[in-house]
């Protein structure tokens, strides 16, 4: 979803304000949200009581910046919150709660209602695994990582024999 203010960045937050007694919602990106907040604070500057009036100086607020990163792809949680983009499937598990709170701002419900992939073709899956491992083997051989290459070679042999057995079973 694109930001409804700048129409450029992805919207990450649903922003609500009351205009003429009516609640108005807008889906905004982080940049436009901070601009909105600035606008709001400039409007209320004169009306806001000084800290001394409210009972002494306001406590110093420290903004906690999360340093969590996805262990699989290295994407930082902070970046996910800023851009509404993740680095890999594992990010969805690693940052489950935080991602759900972003998703709540973007979608109405958090339960998938659409189609599911058809994964019933075991031969096709074996073939694609085999293809991936063969490509990876070529690349680790180029990098002269022989330990990794030996492991991949064994896995490929295992997959090849599994494929032969599966194909024989379906004939």
């Amino acid at each position: 979803m694109l930001c409804q203010r700048c129409h450029k960045n992805p919207a990450t937050v649903r922003y609500a304000e009351v205009v003429d007694g009516k609640s108005v919602h807008q889906d905004l990106c982080a940049e436009c949200l901070s601009r909105c907040k600035q606008d709001l604070s400039s409007v209320f500057t004169l009306g806001t009581a000084k800290p001394a009036v409210r009972g002494g100086p306001a406590p110093q607020r420290t903004v906690r910046r999360s340093r969590r990163v996805c262990p699989v792809c290295g994407t930082a949680l902070e970046r996910v919150a800023e851009t509404a983009e993740v680095g890999c499937s594992a990010c969805y598990t690693e940052f489950g709660q935080e991602i759900e709170s972003v998703l709540e701002g973007l979608h109405r419900t958090l339960r998938h209602q659409g189609k599911a992939p058809r994964l019933d073709n075991s031969i096709a899956r074996l073939c694609s695994d085999l293809q991936t491992k063969r490509v990876l083997l070529r690349s680790v051989l180029r990098a002269e990582d022989y330990e990794q290459a030996a492991r991949l070679r064994d896995e490929i042999r295992g997959l090849e024999s599994g494929l032969r057995l599966t194909e024989a079973g379906t004939d």
Binding site: M1, G74, V102, H112, G114, S139
Partner: protein, 393 residues
């Protein structure tokens, strides 16, 4: 390159537009998918990208896609070729300048494409002329099912298809219709129309143009841009005079900044709604807005048919006589002609012909399809020639 991309061929979807369908130009269905055992493209190394591409190509081969199309790898493509695929509404904007080892499968009819290693590992895009979301969806869905059985897409029961953008998670589907809404715009009612459909999870955006208005910065002496052109035209990149696409279906802007009275209607929610519901919501909103456009046209005719006819006749005269034509001016002419033809005030025009002219007036189409030079002045000369040929009596 021009031959490989079949630059002279008119995409099948252009001809598929019904002869009375003046408001909807094209429907897009875009599906984002990722392989479960790789990081998403933005976090992938070169070797992983190679492996993803190899797996994708193997799957394309197995479901027999190469019988009716070919894969264009980034290693064999230059910027102009990428822009051409963007102008054909197949390759989205991020594909134009992405990291290496990416590519696009393009079907022979140029109404279907698959981007590999773009924003997501696999992005399927189907196009259909006019208001035909169902047709586009059927084709995208069939290929998606074929690929899913071979590739093992990243999927969770709760969140559906996992995508690099959180705004696409769930179905991973963007369904959109490109609309021409001159009458609603002339009556200043676009924002109202957008507000009426927003609560259904459908948004009406303006279509943004790149290089809008640029004719030839160097031709005009002095710092001021030529009369009638926006000031930024003098600084526009000369090559980019086109309407690029994005995952949404077009590069979007605020409705008030739309070029050529072109707007994109697109679903905003992908999680918690089924594909059928998305298609219904967007399709229903497209029909509603088209009906509103018809009512606005009737109102304009009542208020001043002569003004609309005058506008169309002037546009036709310029199209038949211009020797230099900027992209922005071309869009305005096509819009005036389309409105005039829809109201029966300009004869001899069909939606098919006008959409074809819109595609062909873009920069890389002029360069690859008609051999124009890529500087703004050569483009303006060739575009004017194209219009004279297309619209001469």
């Amino acid at each position: 390159m021009a031959e490989e991309l079949q630059a002279g061929r008119v995409p099948d979807w252009v001809g598929g537009t019904a002869p009375d369908q003046w408001t909807a130009l094209v429907s897009h269905c875009t599906l984002a998918r990722n392989l479960s055992d790789f990081a998403f493209p933005s976090r992938c190394g070169e070797e992983e990208r190679h492996a993803i591409e190899a797996r994708a190509l193997d799957a394309f081969e197995r479901i027999n896609l190469f019988g009716s199309g070919r894969y264009h790898a980034s290693a064999h493509m230059d910027g102009l070729a990428w822009q051409f695929l963007g102008e054909r509404r197949i390759a989205s904007r991020e594909m134009l300048q992405g990291p290496p080892i990416r590519g696009v499968y393009l079907a022979d009819g140029q109404d279907f494409g698959i981007m590999v290693n773009g924003s997501d590992h696999i992005v399927l895009r189907a196009l259909a002329g006019g208001m035909a979301l169902r047709d586009a969806w059927t084709r995208a869905n069939t290929v998606d099912d074929g690929l899913a059985s071979l590739l093992g897409f990243a999927w969770q029961e709760r969140l559906g298809y996992l995508t690099s953008r959180l705004g696409m998670v769930g179905t991973g589907l963007r369904a959109s219709v490109l609309l021409h809404l001159p009458a609603i715009n002339l009556l200043g009612a676009v924002e109202d129309a957008a507000a009426r459909i927003r609560h259904r999870g459908v948004e009406l955006f303006g279509v943004a143009g790149a290089g809008y208005g640029a004719t030839d910065a160097s031709f005009w002496s002095g710092d001021a841009p030529p009369p009638g052109l926006p000031p930024e035209a003098a600084n526009e990149a000369p090559g980019l005079q086109c309407l690029l696409t994005d995952l949404e279906g077009a590069v979007c802007t605020a409705p008030k900044s739309a070029v050529g009275n072109l707007y994109l209607l697109v679903n905003q929610e992908t999680l918690g709604v089924s594909e059928e519901e998305i298609l219904f919501r967007v399709g229903h909103a497209a029909v509603e807005i088209s009906q509103e456009e018809e009512r606005s046209c009737a109102l304009l005719m009542k208020r001043g048919a002569l003004d609309i006819e005058d506008r169309a006749a002037r546009a036709m005269a310029v199209a038949r006589g211009a020797r230099l034509l900027g992209f922005g001016e071309a869009l305005e002419l096509l819009s005036a002609l389309r409105l005039g033809a829809a109201l029966g005030l300009a004869r001899g025009l069909s939606p098919h012909k006008l959409t074809e002219a819109l595609l062909s007036a873009q920069a890389s189409h002029l360069v690859l399809g008609r051999g124009a030079g890529s500087d703004p002045r050569s483009l303006a000369i060739e575009r004017a020639k194209l219009f004279r040929e297309t619209f001469s009596a």
